[in-house]
């Protein structure tokens, strides 16, 4: 028994028919074929699947697609400007070598944007603590932390 869902994803209205057990991340990846959002675990630990739901970071593996009914979802594909210019957070990840294999990266970037929104100019310790729900196996986090601090400062200055 499939259920109809409709929501806004990256500014576009989308609809779909899903099994009730379909997770938001499965809807995004398999129905919409937006594969930038990744699945890195099955216990809500790794944060590879972080997207924004109504502007707030959410683990899309821990939410049913039907729970996003009528809401606005932003994925990594929707973060850059319409003309393709990278978001300051994406730019900072590149500048600070905040990614290696790139698999945790979409979740890290989306989390970074959320941290910058809530805690502009957060210090290193705070940023490290805020990344409690995101795991990276390649970088040792240093580039990620530097990127989030740098982008947060730039975003705060712009705001």
């Amino acid at each position: 028994m499939d259920i109809d869902v409709k929501m806004t994803v990256n500014g576009k209205a989308v609809t779909g028919k899903v099994e009730p057990r379909t997770l938001l991340v499965q809807f995004i990846r398999e129905h919409l074929r937006l594969t930038g959002t990744h699945v890195g675990c099955d216990t809500t630990q790794c944060g590879c699947c972080v997207v924004h739901v109504d502007g707030v970071a959410m683990k899309s593996c821990t939410m049913l697609a039907v729970q996003a009914e009528g809401r606005s979802v932003t994925t990594i594909e929707g973060l850059a400007a319409a003309d393709g210019t990278l978001h300051p957070m994406q730019e900072a990840f590149r500048e600070h070598h905040g990614l290696q294999c790139g698999f945790c990266t979409p979740g890290m970037v989306m989390m970074g944007v959320d941290i910058a929104r809530r805690l502009p100019n957060a210090d290193e310790k705070t940023v490290r603590h805020q990344l409690e729900g995101n795991i990276c196996r390649c970088t040792g986090y240093q580039g990620i932390v530097e990127a989030i601090m740098d982008a947060s400062a730039k975003m705060a200055a712009k705001a």
Binding site: E19, R21, R29, R33, L34, T35, G36, T37, H38, V39, G40, C41, D42, T43, Q45, C46, C48, T75, I76, E77, L79, A80, L86, Q90, F93, R94, E95, H97, L99, Q100, C101, G102, F103, C104, T105, P106, V109, E124, V127, R128, H129, L131, E132, N134, I135, C136, R137, C138, T139, G140, Y141, Q142, G143, I144, V145
Partner: protein, 773 residues
């Protein structure tokens, strides 16, 4: 092209794509009509299968096929390839068990694949697995390495005596024994190197596509060495390699783990052949803990002999190394190929290491970042600290007086390695300065006021990188004067694309935006081995450089011909000659090369070249790590306060990426020392650490800012002067953190702390020491 030149901290060219969500990992690929596979795995560490009936599962909704060992046997495929070449103590060949893709009547670890269900959706396949009727007769299992070779231990393979796979020795036993007999001081210890897992953020996965009309297989998968992978897979399928295409997309980390041909690779291909449709299998995270190969798992009984002045006289080690239940090609290498790391940077004249490789009812042990190097480095560097402690000498000083001086290079160690160069004392001094070694006791005293036990620990480690082997590369100009670089190496996040483009761009003067990097597709990559063992800068980089130079040489000849001069000058992509005011760019030459009228007689049209490079000699990256940490006296919680590294990885191609490699390696070493461990229940053999809720991964909060300086001593063993950098961080971190922990607790009489030094373990160590003290 200064901006992209070798040595510049060029941001990565692969990043914009990955940052936009444009990565293409195996799970991102989809094909029309694709089916999904689920593996039914053994819930027992050791059992007989007494009944296996898949009738009900076959009839379940959406199920297209249920494969068991019978289908595998009927397909004509063979077993998966295994390690070979080593011997037992009596010289007889090593024990080589068959490695079936699906077991017939005996399971040998929790996770051993029994059946493969293929269905329209993953959930249908998973549901159908529940309908397989299967009975087991549980048998005694041994998961502990220390117990497995004891008489009477349950056997993993019935005819493999004492579970011994092979024996390997290195060094001169008589000489070492003599050194120990004469030595006034001996320090000895049993070191247990825990079992960990790579836990790549992208799990393993494969898609099999069989084209019946062409009788050809395509496998999209996670790997490190596409051409080697194809060779091993072709042997399994019993087809010529030309019947098989292996394609890697983006690889979400590997660290050695994904390099093997695992069971599921064969299963998706057989599934596709039987159903006539593409079949995808992607490992879930929790499944990965029982399905993946693990890393490390050694027990080393080690001893170091020294004189009263602190000079080392000899090293003896008896090392047990776990193999798991089966082997794959190269999974045995961690037991022997890096034993030399135990010689460290020191001058001791005698060493002997005796290695026993042992089967246990556990997952296969594969190379994991370091593959024997961190294990060996831990042994020697812990022994060095114990020796210093024994004679009351400073840890830096005992290292200094035993270090091989630069003037002794090249230096043949007592354990096979022959170092070509290295400036160990200078690296040590720079590190001591960076951490303010002299000021440490004041920081320790201050921490004590806060109820924290502060310790400092160092390691000076050296390892083999870029072992002899080959790699291939191609540089192909196209008709518009842009170009494609092809290499046999496969990045799993290291940034090969960036460094290779730097090399090509710097030489040919073509902007990196106009260079396409191609890897990992065996239909496109003509030659090479792949990535692993810290080899790609030295081997892949050299191959790319050689191909690039061949193109440049040809372009010079074409340019001279076109400018009607004997020879041309070349700089930054432009050919000139003082005798003419005309000049040609590399692009002009590339375009002109398509027409014979622009070429010297007999020259082939086109501007492209390939290079097949064989590296004869390895190199020896080395470095010093110093770490300061604090242990909470009440809780056992560890905070790393400071961490400095001075590395010598030879010529630095890109300092930004090098730092990334070192820090990433450190995080895995710290993880193993402080929190990570694969643990089995000793009675049932169950994996007790089967998810990210149970297996503790290092998070951002586990680390301070890590300070890194490079001290490049370029090696002459390759034209770029590079030494390997991928594993060095992990190698140095394990012993440095281990030594710092002991230093923090030494006033309590603590002489060693086993890994992982979790808060619970540290609390118990402190509690016990206080009771005893």
């Amino acid at each position: 092209m200064g901006e992209f030149a070798i040595g510049q901290p060029v941001p990565r060219f692969e990043d914009p794509r990955l940052l936009r969500g444009g990565g293409r990992y195996v799970d991102d690929m989809a094909f029309p009509g694709m089916l999904y596979g689920f593996v039914l795995r053994s819930p027992h560490a050791h059992a007989k299968i007494t009944r296996l009936d898949v009738t009900r599962a076959e009839a379940a909704p959406g199920v297209a096929a249920v494969l068991t060992w019978k289908d595998w046997a009927a397909s004509g495929y063979g077993d998966l390839p295994t390690a070979k070449g080593k011997t037992k103590r009596d010289g007889s060949p090593m024990y080589r068990p068959k490695f079936p893709a699906l077991v017939k009547d005996r399971v040998r670890y929790v996770g051993d694949p029994i059946a493969f269900i293929v269905a329209d959706t993953y959930h249908q396949a998973q549901d159908a697995a529940e309908l397989i009727d299967i009975d087991f007769e549980a048998l005694p299992a041994v998961t502990s390495l220390a117990d497995a070779s004891k008489p009477g231990a349950p056997l993993v393979h019935d005819d493999c005596e004492n579970n011994i796979c092979f024996i390997y020795t290195e060094g001169d036993k008589a000489k070492a024994d003599a050194a120990f007999t004469a030595a006034p001081i001996i320090v000895k210890k049993r070191f247990t190197i825990s079992r960990v897992t790579a836990a790549t953020m992208e799990t393993r996965g494969s898609i099999g596509v069989y084209d019946a009309a062409a009788d050809r297989y395509t496998c999209y998968t996670t790997l490190q060495r596409a051409l080697n992978f194809r060779e091993e897979l072709a042997q399994t399928l019993r087809v010529p390699e030309s019947k098989l295409r292996v394609v890697a997309g983006d690889i979400g980390g590997s660290f050695g783990m994904k390099s093997g041909v695992f069971n599921e690779v064969g299963l998706v291909l057989l599934g596709s052949k039987i159903t006539g449709r593409p079949v995808k299998w992607v490992c879930t995270r929790s499944e990965s803990f029982v399905a993946d190969a693990h890393g490390r798992d050694n027990v080393a009984d080690a001893e170091l002999a020294l004189d009263r002045s602190g000079k080392f006289l000899g090293l003896r080690v008896n090392n047990l190394v776990a193999m798991g239940a089966y082997t794959q090609p190269g999974t045995d290498s961690g037991a022997f190929s890096n034993v030399g790391t135990m010689a460290g940077v020191y001058t001791f004249p005698a060493g002997y290491v005796d290695v026993t490789a042992v089967y246990t009812h556990t997952n296969i042990i594969r190379p994991f970042r370091g593959n024997g190097r961190p294990e060996a480095a831990f042994v020697i560097e812990r022994l060095v600290d114990m020796a210093a402690d024994e004679i009351g000498m400073d840890a830096a000083e005992i290292r200094r007086i035993n270090m091989i001086p630069p003037q002794s290079m090249p230096y043949q160690t007592a354990l096979s390695f022959k170092y070509d160069n290295g400036e160990f004392e200078r690296v040590l001094d720079t590190s001591l300065e960076m951490i303010d070694y002299k000021g440490f006791e004041a920081r320790r005293a201050e921490a004590r006021q806060r109820g924290k036990l502060r310790g400092i620990g160092m390691s000076y480690t050296i390892e083999k990188a870029g072992a002899p082997g080959y790699e291939g590369a191609e540089v192909r100009f196209d008709r518009t004067g842009s170009l494609t670089v092809v290499c046999g190496a496969v990045t799993q996040g290291q940034g090969h694309e960036t460094v290779f483009k730097q090399i090509v761009s710097d030489t040919l003067g073509i902007h990196p935006d106009e260079i396409h990097y191609l890897q990992g597709d065996t239909d496109q990559v003509f030659f090479g081995e792949g990535t692993g063992g810290s080899r790609t800068s030295a081997l892949g980089g050299t191959a790319v450089m050689l191909a690039t130079n061949k193109v440049l040489d040809k372009a010079r000849k074409i340019a001279a011909h076109m400018l009607q001069v004997d020879q041309v000058d070349y700089a930054d992509g432009v050919f000139t000659n003082p005798k003419t005011n005309r000049s040609l760019t590399m692009k002009d030459v590339a375009k002109a090369s398509l027409h014979p009228k622009n070429l010297p007689q007999e020259m082939e049209v086109g501007l492209n070249a390939s290079a097949s490079h064989y590296a004869k000699v390895q190199n020896y990256p080395n470095g010093c790590h110093i770490v300061e940490l604090e242990i909470d006296e009440d809780t056992g919680q560890v905070e790393i306060e400071r961490y400095v590294v001075v590395d010598d990885v030879g010529t630095v191609l890109n300092p930004k990426l090098l730092k990334g490699q070192i820090i990433g390696g450190i995080s895995q070493g710290v993880g193993q020392m402080l929190m990570e461990e694969i643990r089995f229940d000793p009675d049932s053999g169950q994996n007790l650490t089967g998810s990210f809720m149970d297996y503790c991964m290092p998070h951002a909060e586990a680390f301070p800012h890590i300070d890194i300086k490079s001290h490049p001593v370029p090696t002459a063993t390759n034209p770029l002067g590079v030494k390997g950098a991928g594993e060095a961080g992990c190698v140095g971190a394990l012993p440095a953190v281990g030594n710092a922990l002991v230093d923090a607790l030494s006033h309590l009489g603590v002489r060693h702390v086993d890994m992982p030094a979790t808060p619970e373990r540290l609390w118990r160590v402190m509690d016990e020491a206080k009771r005893a003290g």
